[in-house]
């Protein structure tokens, strides 16, 4: 099968989308398919069997010094000028502009290549309506609808200005319209499928659930001495849907004096949380590592007793699955798809209600006091991850979805 993947951000260190692209592309190539990927910056690392086609982007939304000395007039080009202007009004235009550029790139590629299927990775820009005109089956992965990000942001008190910025930031109208035009939607959990139906109105019959995988060759248990009363949280602390504030509150409620290690994107990405760490007087009990390499993260998992995932919502929850693969007992909130990933309460993990710092604190104390339970849950968690979440399975299921879309297109 000749597959063309689209991802507006391709690097695995830029978040879940990049990780998804990397593993899906790699596994599809391993299965013997011809894989091409049209990607925006930051670009992915080369993978054997995957041909990348790069699309430029000036990242006007995030970069202040937008004039490139070697291309001083690039901003005055029509699409760049639109991106520049829209980003100055708080709109996030990267998705839309990527979709238009992807159309142009595909048009060029189709002169020399033919594709059986095009698979988008949660972009859903208006340019895809043009891509549909090529007459190639077109599916899209939606990890979770961005309405969730918007509403969790609104849960926290913020000014009118910030709320306005948030509303303008998420391209929900466009994504809702384009999602309904795709041949099939792939999503990563049953909970996400329900949320996509609620937010975008895409019927469940048009959605296929393909669970993400977990790379057990990277995430595995290491025998080492664990630090007493140690906890770990992996994720972007500024992302309101991660429930960090409830986790901080829980730390003030535990009977045991626990120490939390936070693995996040680094100091420039922290504005909101340090204030609450000060307010809850937790400065001596929290360590930020910033961005660290994967081998160091695995070592950190090995040295820690408990992993926390207090998210209000997760479309899948990579950090929970990673910790489980490292035989770490996970305390997860029942937000979104986390129960689907973590599994049975008290068997493969501990589940607590989201937004409940008291329940979270109680669960932390319970696991601190019961090393036997920690070990039992950790081992069961790894078994669950190895059996349920592999990228090989994900790729095989994805190929079935592709075939279904192709057959429907051919009227079979």
């Amino acid at each position: 099968m000749k597959i063309c993947l689209l991802s507006y951000r391709g690097n695995p260190y830029c978040g879940g989308q990049g990780i998804y692209l990397m593993y899906v592309a790699r596994e599809l190539a391993k299965l013997g398919h011809e894989v091409h990927a049209i990607v925006g910056p930051p670009y992915p690392f080369p993978i054997e069997g995957v041909t990348y086609h790069y699309i430029d982007n000036h990242n006007y939304f995030n970069i202040k010094d937008f004039v490139k000395p070697h291309k001083p007039f690039a901003t005055l080009e029509p699409l760049n000028f639109y991106e520049f202007t829209a980003s100055k009004f708080g709109i996030f235009p990267e998705i839309e502009s990527f979709s238009i550029r992807a159309y142009c790139k595909l048009k060029e590629l189709l002169k020399t290549h033919s594709f059986d299927i095009i698979h988008d990775n949660q972009c859903l820009g208006y340019g895809f309506l043009l891509i549909k005109q090529f007459g190639i089956p077109f599916v899209s992965t939606i990890h979770h609808p961005l309405t969730i990000d918007r509403s969790t942001w609104f849960e926290y008190p913020s000014s009118f200005f910030l709320k306005t910025k948030r509303i303008l930031y998420y391209p929900l109208v466009m994504q809702k319209y384009v999602a309904n035009k795709m041949d099939l939607i792939i999503t990563v959990s049953h909970d996400s499928a329900r949320e996509i139906y609620k937010a975008f109105g895409v019927p469940l019959e048009k959605q296929r659930v393909v669970y993400n995988g977990m790379d057990s060759s990277i995430f595995y248990p290491i025998k080492t001495k664990k630090r007493p009363n140690s906890l770990i949280f992996v994720g972007n602390v500024e992302d309101r849907k991660k429930g960090v504030i409830y986790m901080l509150k829980a730390l003030t409620l535990t009977k045991h004096k626990v120490h939390l290690t936070i693995v996040d994107g680094g100091a420039p990405n922290r504005n909101y949380v340090p204030k609450w760490i000060d307010k809850f007087q937790l400065n001596d009990r929290i360590t930020f590592t910033g961005k660290i390499p994967l081998d160091k993260l695995v070592k950190l998992y090995a040295e820690t007793q408990i992993a926390l995932c207090p998210s209000l919502y997760e479309g899948f929850g990579f950090p929970a699955a990673e910790a489980m693969a490292c035989e770490l007992p996970v305390i997860a909130a029942t937000g979104g798809a986390l129960p689907e990933v973590v599994g049975q309460h008290n068997k493969t993990g501990i589940l607590v209600p989201p937004r409940d710092p008291y329940a979270l604190a109680q669960a932390i104390d319970y696991l601190i006091e019961n090393p036997g339970v920690r070990e039992r849950i950790g081992k069961a968690a790894r078994t669950r991850v190895l059996e349920t979440f592999t990228w090989e399975n994900a790729a095989k299921q994805m190929v079935k979805v592709y075939q279904e879309a192709i057959d429907a297109y051919r009227g079979l």
Binding site: P69, R150, F154, K163, K249
Partner: protein, 153 residues
Amino acid sequence: MPRAKIYGFLAVIISALLGIAFVYYAFIRFDMYSSLHFSSIDTGAYWAVTTPIAIVTLFILATGFWVGYTILTIKVAPPMPEIVEKKDNSKFKAFLLCLVTAALAAWFVYGLLNHYYLAIAIPAACITLVILGMVFWVGIAIITTRSTLKKDK
């Protein structure tokens, strides 16, 4: 001076001159009080010119209304009491935004149907000045961006 900087200066000067010229000819030199209507313009020509302006204006006002309406109506879980620092008055501001955008849209449509000069001139000025302002900004950025590294670097 590098060629890029020359073009940067040109972008700044031209956008500034066009902006000033627009304001001067549309609002200062033009005697709005004696000719408040586009009465002498052919109907077809009037709608040909005003329709694009009307679409953009109504789209922007509708976006403003939608932002206010979303803030007013979005349903979310209440925040943890510890993190509420001060009273949130964003709903009141959102209500005002809805009110203002609806009133402006009503005034604009009324003015458009009655061929009022200002109903067309003000949105046209806003759109033009925003675009020229962006070009001006890019020009300034080109002028102030160092094109080569310093000799000691």
